[in-house]
Amino acid sequence: MTFPLGPLLPLIALIAPLAIGLLAAIPATRARSLALLPLAPLPALALAFFGTQDETTLAPDLLLGVTLTLDGNARYFLGFVALLWMGAGLYATAYMRDKPKIAPFVGFWCMTLCGNLGVFLAADIITFYVSFAVVSLCAYLLVVHDGTQRALHAGIVYIVLAVLGETCLLLGFLIGAAAADSLLIVDVRIALTDAPGGEAAIALLIVGFGLKAGMFPFHVWLPLAHPAAPVPASAVLSGAIVKAGIFGLMQFLPMESGLSLWGALLVITGLVSAYYGVAVGLTQRNPKSVLAYSTISQMGLVLALIGAAAGATPADNLAAATLLSLHHGFAKGALFLSVGIVAASGRRAAVPALAAAALLALSVAGFPGTGGALAKAAMKAHIADPIVYWLVTLSAIGTTLLLARFVMTLAAQVSAQERARPSPIMTASFVALAVAALVSPWFFFTDLAGLPLAYSLSASSILNGLWPVLVGGAIAAAFLRISPSVPSIPEGDLVTPVTKWLRRLDGAARRGRSRLEDLPRPDPGVLAAPLWRAASVAERAFARWSFAGLLMAAGALGVLIALSLQ
């Protein structure tokens, strides 16, 4: 049992949530574990701020030798994810107080958190893969926590796609690790370009991570799962867990060697996801599914940004993507919380929440002055290809439209009792995340976007950010009120036709097999009967002495002849 080497903080960051999760298992400390929930990500947050960069901690006995490190982008991811989990955790303490099944919720909440943090800290593939598997499988348990029929159905779709994703990742990692003959992510990334089957590996990794990030056509589980989960869980699902997929792509895609083919493909699917998300999102009635489709769209943009990085200078693009993810995480987390708050507040109390939600929506759309504008600006600055540039800017219109639809559907969610007021803790966590979304990009813009702050304040970038939002708002104002009866596509759009087709396939297979089974199987007893009858007839003959006597005389003659053949 060798003692882990190197700084201990990363290990503590991972073990702390597990410890709290364990508390939940023990009945005596169950209530207190719910209260401790927000503190679970604290050590990770500390690590993000004070942790020393590029130092590895090695725990050789765990798994196949766990190595943890903290590189540039990971630090920011770790930081904002930890904050997001704290906010959602705070919200959860209030949200879950009177609800049943607290222990499984807290337990699986902590395990998902531990997996999520592990993804950002892992330096070797095995730890990365284990954390990724833990986060995606435990998230299932959060999705189906409410146990409603809708949640269970969403869970099934989620788990099937999650398992498919995991398998793709496993294959990709296997090919990479075999080629690199080492487990470290850095070596694998380098080895992937010229590895035998390297192309296949990259494709598999893109599918595996893309699926987690809601990339078209593997996005179908997201609009089903996120809305079905309890509010804090969907906040975390959309805000932090989706980012694991993005981070995975950033870690494993071999940018240095300029993978032109995959980069282009990633850009295209990213943009398709962006626009597809908006198109289907507009037809949704449930605010949470609108938000889910907005996540698909936003993540589509991030994917495009990463794809574009393949050609140009990768480091800047990834940094910009980090900033974009950071802002999106906070904003989307807050928006999901806002749904919870609005639902719990009366008409009068809902007004400020709706206002804040609208503000956040504007920030996501990139309204100048908000965090979102900075993130959008950072993104646009690093897209060289003009067509992509314009597509991205136009997508801002779509986003505004979609989020306007969100605010509209949110307004309809106001609770009936006039004087219902959300609990102060809930509002506190919502406000914290909203502020973080609006403010934090200002702090990180310089080192993540690689541009001076002044750039974002310059007239051209303000104008650049403003006009799409205005156009979007105008269209929204014009259309949304007039045609509410837009044909509503069922959540998880592609799922329904695919499941029908699968069910038909299963029925056919079952019928085929049953026909196969009633083929008569030969019974050995029946086959042996003639043999047995012949033998007993011969036996009766041998028993008759007159025959046997002759046989013996003949036998003697035979032996005599045999002997004389000397």
């Binding site: 047995w532 033998a535 036996e539 041998f542 046997a548 032996v559 045999a562 002997l563």
Partner: protein, 491 residues
């Protein structure tokens, strides 16, 4: 060499004394059996230390006098016979001892059994062909009488059929001995080994003797008398018949072909005996599979297992350079004979106990017997393992040696037949075992059997297994005074 004479004299004397003792004969047998066992043990240790011995009877040296010869082979058979017969005696005291009233079977069984024991020892000890004839006839006499012991019509008919085969066999053997004497003027095995040459009278004599003994050993196609005879006889008797009586004539065939006339033997003869052996294995097994009565299954199993013994002739001598150990096939055949003796005796005793417990001999009655008679089923299982040639039993060691000899000699066909024989044996031996392990059918009342009576077959079956596990000692015993023909074979 008092032990050698004791081996001969004691059983015969006890047989004679048993007649006047009548109802007290079982006690006499219980006294005589250990003594004879001790004598056999003494003989074995004697020749272990000093090597083969020759004891001229009455001081007359051959060719005129008769010599008793003891080497590894005979000592092994003596010891096996003593153990098996000792166990049978112990077992039979519970069946054939009727202190209150006199029964014909009870009266006749003990002299016949002890006389048979004497005859067996005489066969294993005599070094002279005519002496072998006399011993063989005494053996047949007692065997036929034991078959017809309970006087039912089927058993008397079976005894007569057995008698017909036996008479033909003894006449053929006698004619052969006469021709040998006419040709060489001597009947002593040691002398004949030197004098023998491959010429016409020797061939005729050898052919007659071989077929005569084959009939007495019930080798296929002359086997038809054995199943009704051994199944009809009472359990201890059929144990003796299957385990030892057939082995005596096989022992003489081995003596003739490996000790007396190795020069006369050739490839064709070996192939004929081999072919008959293969026929026995396959034919006996197929018939055993279809039987409904347990004793018939066991009897046909004897017919099949005897086939293995005769595979020894084609395979002997094909040692090949890779064999670090002694002649494969010869050893294999003899160990098979010995382990078959133990296993078959145990199996027949178990069959007897089952028949006694469930009242009839049909196998369906065996359902659930494992619960009430665990020891007997365990003994039957161990014996079955040895007959199937599955490790760790003596049967396996024998089969392993025969197989290796077959492969070394390149005749793969015999190897395949042996393996097939093992599988067929598994089929017909697991049928009764399966019923024993089944749930007892309702309303089947199984009369409990004393544990000590169940222990007797267990000891015998254990001996069959021990022969496989601790087989180093028997092998060294068999090597003493073994004919060199066993190494080179008959070619």
């Amino acid at each position: 060499m008092i032990a050698v004479t004791a081996c001969l004299v004691l059983p015969l004397a006890a047989a004679l004394a048993a007649i006047p003792l009548g109802r007290r004969a079982p006690r006499l047998a219980l006294v005589a059996a250990p003594l004879i066992l001790l004598a056999a043990l003494a003989v074995a240790t004697e020749i272990w230390r000093t090597g083969p011995a020759q004891l001229p009877v009455g001081g007359w040296l051959p060719p005129l006098g008769i010599a008793l010869v003891v080497d590894g082979l005979s000592a092994a058979f003596l010891l096996t016979g003593a153990i098996v017969t000792g166990a049978v005696v112990l077992f039979a005291t519970s069946i054939f001892s009727t202190p209150d009233r006199e029964t014909r079977a009870g009266f006749a069984f003990w002299p016949l059994l002890l006389a048979m024991w004497g005859a067996l020892n005489a066969v294993f000890l005599s070094g002279d062909l005519f002496n072998l004839y006399v011993a063989l006839e005494l053996l047949t006499l007692t065997a036929v009488a034991l078959v017809a012991l309970d006087g039912r019509r089927e058993t008397v008919a079976a005894a007569i059929r057995y008698m017909l085969f036996a008479l033909f066999g003894s006449l053929a053997y006698l004619l052969g001995v006469t021709l040998i004497y006419a040709r060489y003027g001597a009947l002593d095995i040691a002398l004949l080994r030197i004098l023998a040459e491959p010429d016409a009278p020797t061939f005729v004599a050898a052919a007659l003797m071989t077929i005569g003994l084959a009939a007495k050993t019930a080798l296929f196609p002359f086997h038809a008398w054995l199943p009704p005879a051994h199944a009809g006889a009472p359990a201890p008797a059929s144990a003796m018949l299957s385990a030892l009586v057939t082995k005596a004539s096989f022992y003489i065939v081995v003596r003739i072909w490996f000790d007396v006339l190795p020069v006369a033997g050739n490839e064709a003869l070996a192939m004929i005996l081999g072919a008959m052996g293969v026929g026995a294995i396959l034919f006996g097994s197929v018939l055993a599979i279809g039987q409904e009565r347990l004793k018939l299954v066991v009897a046909y199993s004897t017919v099949a297992q005897l086939g293995y013994l005769f595979l020894m002739f084609p395979l002997a001598g094909s040692g090949g350079e890779a064999q670090p150990w002694a002649a494969g096939a010869w050893n294999g055949g003899v160990v098979h004979a010995l382990s078959h003796a133990f296993a078959k005796a145990a199996m027949f005793l178990c069959a007897g106990l089952f028949a006694e417990a469930i009242g009839h001999d049909r196998m369906d009655g065996l359902k659930g017997v494992a619960r009430t008679m665990p020891l007997t089923v365990f003994a039957f299982g161990l014996a079955a393992i040895s007959l199937m040639g599955l490790p760790p039993s003596g049967g396996f060691t024998a089969k392993y040696l025969l197989l290796t000899a077959a492969f070394a000699g390149g005749n793969h066909f015999f190897a395949l037949v042996m393996l097939a024989g093992g599988l067929l044996a598994a089929i017909y031996l697991f049928r009764p075992l399966e019923r024993a392990f089944a749930k007892p059918a309702e309303g089947s009342d199984i009369t409990p059997i004393a544990r000590w009576r169940q222990a007797v077959p267990l000891v015998l079956a254990g001996a069959a297994i021990a022969l496989g596990v601790f087989s180093a000692v028997p092998f060294d015993l068999l090597r003493i005074g073994r004919a060199d023909a066993a190494q080179e074979g008959l070619e």
